[in-house]
Symmetry: D2
Subunit: 351 residues, 4 copies
């Protein structure tokens, strides 16, 4: 019953196999190998667009490198107040961005609305050079609340941003989960909707440590090679990070993995609803937020269930949490088994 | 005939196997798993000392994190002018260190002497607050010239540094190769000789991407967890980086790998000497620098030999390079085959 | 009718005279002159405490240097959401602090309460190393709302901060105005109440460009000389910045100046109240916030009155602003004349 | 006998007077006042070119802001090894430039040659993204050795730089002294010779604290207003820094002041040569380097002469310093009196 995070799972079998297959002979280092060239091409095909790709080992690196590249040190990144960059990266964007500022905005269901962004841009514009001005927008797909931005929602946000000259970054640590839920192409969910730079995550989806910064306008990537290197994020034995992506994308393996994770989240949700547990936000990816009695929480933990209790602050104004309840986050992955879910729901049912 | 770098080799078999073995079940992320705990303990045993350990995916990260932790932004790191941190990390120490300064010093055979360090400390001391002052010393083991610091040499350098209050960092990207050459313990070659913080590399030795920042005084590591996270160097599926180190250290596997690499470098050296090629620096690890005729260099490349020609600047005052010769660097690894060496020497012999 | 800011005034006469007096003969540069030594001593006397003093030309420098010195790059500074460091320094604290984070907190009348700080510390504690943790507290005296913290309020805030290990910084750009209003000593209003580091401003009070970073624990100032120099804030002809402070403190001149400014703010307030204008926040220093009809605002501007209209966002939840009204900020200074106030009130009265 | 530095002098009388004159009435802050507008226009006229001007209080700020603006964090600034930015600014360029690197180059008489720059550019080019690449050139006028670059020398250096895409920065802390010596216009000595951005110093020339960053291509200045503000270098009572420049430029006052200083340096030189003291570098501005017997040095100091002894390292290969001699630096200013020189020479003569 491990629902602590999708990063508690290991590597998906095909990715593990890909590492073995890549481990043959010599390959020139630092991303100049054939496998890397190939995976860069494949990522371009995946998104049906010319791209500049930079593979890195962590999502924090992908996000921080992207935001530092899009935002001057005296600029602000607009994002949701619960965004990973805001709450879980220990100030990486600020560090990489030489002191840029993150402005955390409220939004129901973990999502920003065009009006919220418009107001924030208005507030953080002008009064130059005294005030840090809004300089980029970062949205998370799927969100930290386990919801997803639909294509038209992304497009509406991007429109507001672009009108003001702000490029749009998408933290796609769980992009696979979001795509699996929607009947749209990767292109439609990203650049066609206005995303300029994407942190395309494979780690949570089944890789060991593989994330890609994808620029849909390669010209914008000038200097990014140096930025990545200087941050220590250019792997010498680069073929192994490429191999992970290659296997992740091959034969829509990413989709198989994401669908599995999402289906398990749906099963959890269904099971919880059946026993009248309150589900906090729409379950649209592989994350379920539920309100559970404090007593039950203790029993579940005692029975070996692994998951995190989130602070009430995260719930914000979206939901009232009764004093004897806690907000729990349950994350599924490609590795989640039906038996885990059944056991968990059984425990909840017994209360 | 791949002598371009020890990072053109893949993973050593036992490390590849370790990844598979680690890929079972769930494990809590971000280094809180049992395997990480275990490997931290083992690294302590390896060095026979209490340690604080931070695993990261690249050597650049290990070095930059270490130096930023030891040196205030207004301090200078003393190092050899050809040190990796000086020439091949695109300013990572300066970035991580909020603008600290590297002072590159000359030294024969890629090594610093106590006098050189003493003079540099004298030059970069006082005149406060106008001048950046020497604040730490970084030495490389094995050096970029393929030589090694003997234990008494390290101790002499550390003594000079410590007298002035400078902590000592060792870039041990090839520490295994150095240890394999000397008949000393890891403890003798590091903290017993005065090393305070070590970048302990496994990648060049046979790992995929695994380096450890080792503090021999754990108290000095306060804040390092945040520093690593904020730099994007805390892997979520941390067990896999731990697994590499576990296998690397188990049953002295690192030593087997390093001895192989060193032996191949010796074989290359012997072969080159036999055909009167000039060897530039003592071959004490797994790197051979030789002077080859420009014409021969072209032939070798045409025949498929992979290696780098280094600028004459690197040779410095140590050696005169005739105009029709080039300085070539040949690096061996755990994966180097005798057949490669024989073929290479054969080509050199035919001229 | 210039109420735009207290920095639209020039230099108070005694400070201008002090520059002339200091302009005799040679003086060793960079703060090693006798006048600087003397003013450092006088500042210690002023606060009745041993201090380490660093004079700088701007308040932004004083604040950013202080906060960077008190807060690690992975730490957060807690402050009011309308604090100058948050809204008017273009990210200087983040720049000087290598990417530290500011957490803007709400608070009535421009002031923070102990509960607000306690909650923020609770929210930004733990979850290490993923989350930036609260690491220092910065309060502004007088506040941006023109209110002041009473001694017991400062003490209560400092107590909450200190319990959690957070040092307390005071942005005292208008400390003189606050002190002039309260019947307390400089010591009582600062270190005795728990302030650790103070940005002591003289510029708004009547200097040309003179601010002092004051450490009440000199040991905490280690490295600050280098930090200031490296930020370009160590004046070479340092005697002139010292001369300003000397004259500012001599014979309680600062108090004379501050009382004048405060009295003019009181006169403005009285005049506005007499004509039924809504005063937004208690007028406790030299700043008056009032709600004026949009039509009147235009007339006043047309008649030559200089002041700023502030965004409704600043008012926050404290006050409702009717659609046909604007929030205006009126700042008085040592140079404000009765005639200006009379003329302004007259215009308001005529509506 | 104060020859310690030109910053030990106070303000030149006309500049002091200008402060008084500027101290009338109210003026909008932060550089939006009429006087600032006027001085910006005058600086354009002075250089006979459209310019973007940013006034700051210190030369370190002017240099660091300029270099950070011209150089990416992964770029290197080429400069003389004895340049002020290299030895006396405590790493300000590295701090402002988010960790950029300075490459100190050797050069006789404190000056760089085109060949030296060409070689450095060759060494610090390519090997991307591993190596920091040369990204800008900074030259000092007059140099730290008291020599000056002639117009054709600047042009030759700029040509080498521009061919490689490196913009040229001039640290003109003593530009007035250099111009006073040469029979050329400010335009000829700067943008016409290829200077892109200039730190135009008035402080050493007779101001209190006034330096201007001058962009000869205003488009290149985008973002500089924010950069200055965020560094704490935008003075609120900006009129007073403008007033200093206004007076400095009016009626060629700067030239009068610089000629005085230069003439006094010439007199010193003549006097020293007459008594057989060794002058180290050509005296082309207001700085004299001489070799004096250690015994004499002690006598001079005892008699009240103020000046600095420089380390032998500064002399470099240019000059051999006998063991019983020291390298002394004597700086004159607008305030230097004939009587001081006569007394000093008299003391030297008596030995």
């Amino acid at each position: 019953m491990n629902f602590a995070s999708d990063n508690t799972a290991g590597m998906a079998p095909e990715l593990m196999a890909a590492l073995s297959q890549a481990n043959v002979g010599f390959a020139i280092g630092y991303g100049n190998d054939a496998l890397t060239r190939d995976v860069e091409r494949r990522i371009g095909e995946f998104f049906d667009h010319e791209v500049a790709v930079f593979l890195v080992p962590t999502g924090t690196a992908a996000n921080a490198l992207s935001l530092a590249h899009l935002t001057p040190p005296w600029g602000a990144v607009l994002c949701h107040e619960n965004a990973h960059i805001m709450t879980d990266e220990c100030g990486a964007p600020e560090f990489f961005g030489a002191g840029l500022k993150l402005i955390g905005l409220r939004g129901e269901n973990g999502k920003l609305t065009p009006d919220t962004v418009k107001n924030a841009v208005a507030r953080y514009s002008g009064h130059v050079p005294h005030q840090v001005n809004a300089a980029s927008l970062s949205i998370t797909q799927a969100t930290e609340a386990g919801t997803i931005y639909r294509v038209d929602e992304i497009a509406a946000l991007a429109k507001v941003a672009h009108v003001q000259g702000l490029p749009v970054h998408m933290d796609g640590a769980r992009l696979g989960n979001a795509l699996a839920r929607m009947n749209v192409t990767p292109a439609e969910a990203t650049w066609k909707a206005g995303v300029d730079v994407l942190s395309f995550g494979a780690t949570k989806g089944g890789a060991m440590a593989a994330e890609a910064v994808v620029f849909f306008d390669p010209a914008r990537a000038a200097g990014m090679a140096e930025r990545r290197k200087r941050a220590g994020h250019l792997l010498s034995k680069h073929r192994f990070i490429a191999a992970q992506f290659e296997a992740y994308l091959k034969d829509d393996y990413w989709l198989t993995l994401a669908r599995h994770a999402n289906a398990k989240a749906d099963a959890l949700t269904e099971g919880l609803r059946a026993v009248d547990a309150k589900i906090v936000w729409p379950v649209e990816a592989n994350i379920v937020f539920a309100l559970l009695p404090t007593v039950l929480d203790a029993k579940l933990k005692a029975a070996g269930a692994a998951y995190y209790v989130r602070s009430n602050a995260m719930a914000g104004d979206d939901v009232a949490i009764e004093p004897d309840h806690v907000l729990v986050r349950l994350v599924t992955s490609f590795a989640t088994q039906d038996s885990e879910i059944e056991k968990f729901i059984g425990l909840v049912q017994r209360g």
